[in-house]
């Protein structure tokens, strides 16, 4: 007799391509998605300031969850998608620096992508596999950028120190670098 499978599938049966990237952030309307984690506010504040310094006519819109677990509310996630669909050109989400918040950030960034907005999630580098596994289970090759900001750091001076110009380059790159073949045409699971 055979063995019974104790597990559910790890992947979604539906796969999705991420949205086409933009050519530049110049002149674009940038969404800043705050998933309610303490570090999200200073991280997004510093990213916003650094991008503003580079582009004269970039504009911003911010969506902030009151607290992390609001991500569990589908109606609130619908609000995120509506916000993204309402004129955003790109979206930057923060912060993935714990188990549940990385997962919930995936959910928020997915909503931006569902609205057709190219998006990137900002992570503590220790949570990359957490990001990937949560994105994979939802069927999306969602982009992320791991940053040197350590988990739970909300001190803006430390955030400013860690988000160097090189890190900002990399974040912008995730929004402007053209999609790979895999990102554009993710194969249906066999």
């Amino acid at each position: 007799m055979g063995l019974m499978n104790p597990q559910n599938p790890s992947e979604s049966s539906d796969r999705h391509a991420i949205s086409p990237r933009v050519d530049t952030l110049d002149g674009k309307h940038v969404g800043l998605y705050d998933n309610g984690k303490a570090a999200a506010e200073p991280v997004l504040e510093v990213i916003k300031r650094r991008i503003q310094e580079r582009y004269d006519d970039v504009t911003f819109s911010k969506f902030t969850l009151d607290y992390l677990n609001q991500s569990k509310d589908p109606a609130k996630m619908d609000d995120v998608q509506e916000w993204a669909a309402d004129g955003l050109d790109v979206c930057i989400g923060a912060m993935g620096d714990c188990g549940s918040c990385t997962k919930f950030l995936v959910w928020g960034v997915e909503r931006a992508e569902r609205a057709g907005v190219p998006a990137v999630g900002i992570l503590d580098e220790a949570f990359v596999m957490d990001w990937k596994s949560n994105a994979i289970e939802r069927g999306w090759p969602l982009r992320y950028k791991e940053v040197p900001v350590r988990s739970e750091v909300a001190d803006i001076e430390r955030v400013e120190r860690d988000l160097t110009e090189g890190v900002i380059d990399d974040i912008i790159d995730e929004l402007v670098r053209p999609r790979t073949d895999k990102e554009r045409d993710l194969a249906t699971p066999s």
Partner: protein
């Protein structure tokens, strides 16, 4: 000698394969053959394809069969299945907050407290050493529920279960309440069930502090409860869940509280009333935020706030045997959620077949 299973693969090969798939907890498992799963299903009257509930990020369904498969792997027998079904129902309740505490860096464990006649039926340990190790029902129930949750939701540790330091308690924090030596109503009655019903209660704590009072009287027991509630252990509503503290009192100290005329409710009120803590000890975080919010209509900030704001955030249970040590368990960010255990029609036959009475010391050979 290598044991060959019904699959044609050795026990070792099956264990290696399932470990490689991320289906185990790192320890060897019993191979979930079709035959063993079929046998396990004797423990329920529910159809094998019935969805008990949904769990985790994707609302993944868990069927009776899937639960039975994980129960086999954990070492359960069919008499454990009714408890597991109720436990899975508790995990599926949104109030359990399992979707968060199961993957959080906070290294939260699954706390399971068992009440009612099922304790005796299954030999769930409630007395000495109740939290283990050594007692089959306590160990396999916690293991099976942990495996079932993990394998349904695919939360591999270090990948999606991001517990920073992890928890040795994660799948093993299971005990029955020592109702026979409990001077008050048992937990499940406090939670609204009848005394003759059997229940399982879920929490999601990450700390377990063992302590004894300086003197063995009610005053010192209460002081011990207050002093051994760490600053991380706060009780209040926060966001969409609540922080809860469980005090597992040994029967002697519980008796001393009761003999002093204290009800369980009065014990909880005493803890709350005496939990006021200097607000500056909470440099940041949920308690500080909540404390300030609760006083935001005042012109000045108080210097002390209650660490536990209401008796509803406390559970007092009697667990353990002889001795003077107690446990403070918390804070839990899940539940508590209590579910009734339902038994199949063939329950008595199953007990006759599978119930084991430990007989570790052959005292009958030496003593009348």
């Amino acid at each position: 000698m290598t044991h060959v299973s019904e699959t044609g693969s050795s026990l070792e090969e099956i264990n290696d394969r399932l470990y490689d798939q991320g289906a185990t907890d790192g320890l060897p498992i019993i191979p979930p053959t079709e035959e063993r799963v079929e046998e396990m299903l004797q423990g329920t009257d529910r159809p094998r394809d019935e969805v008990i509930t949904t769990l985790g990020n994707r609302d993944d369904p868990i069927t009776v069969e899937k639960l039975a498969t994980n129960a086999v792997m954990a070492g359960c027998t069919p008499i454990h299945l009714p408890v597991l079904v109720a436990g899975i129902e508790a995990l599926g309740d949104p109030w359990s907050n399992s979707i968060q505490f199961s993957v959080s860096t906070g290294s939260w464990a699954y706390l399971w407290l068992i009440n009612g006649p099922v304790r005796d039926m299954l030999n769930v340990q409630c007395g000495t050493g109740a939290f283990g190790p050594g007692f089959r029902a306590n160990r396999v129930i916690g293991r099976a529920l942990g495996l079932a949750y993990k394998n349904t939701t695919r939360i591999h540790p270090g990948v999606k279960d991001m517990a920073t330091v992890g928890s040795p308690f994660k799948y093993s924090l299971v005990a029955g309440e020592n109702e026979e030596l409990n001077p008050w109503e048992p937990l499940h009655v406090t939670e609204g069930y009848d005394e003759d019903e059997s229940t399982i209660t879920l929490g999601g704590p990450n700390s377990f502090i063992v302590w004894s009072p300086y003197e063995n009287d009610a005053q010192h027991v209460l002081e011990g409860m207050v002093y051994h509630t760490d600053l991380e252990m706060f009780g209040r509503h926060y966001a969409d869940h609540q922080g809860t503290i469980v005090y597992a009192l040994n029967p002697y100290n519980a008796e001393e509280l009761a003999e002093a005329g204290l009800t369980k409710r009065e014990v909880k009120e005493y803890i709350c009333d005496n939990s006021h803590t200097n607000i500056h000890k909470f440099a940041r975080g949920a308690l500080r935020d909540a404390a300030f919010e609760s006083h935001d209509d005042e012109k000045v900030t108080p210097l002390q706030v209650p660490q536990i704001s209401d008796p509803e955030y406390i559970r007092v249970v009697t667990i353990g045997g002889g001795g003077r040590f107690n446990a403070t368990i918390g804070r839990s960010i899940g539940g508590p959620v209590t579910r009734k255990i339902e038994f199949p029609d063939n329950w008595e036959e199953l007990l006759d077949t599978y119930r084991i009475e430990p007989n570790w010391v052959k005292d009958a050979e030496y003593y009348d």
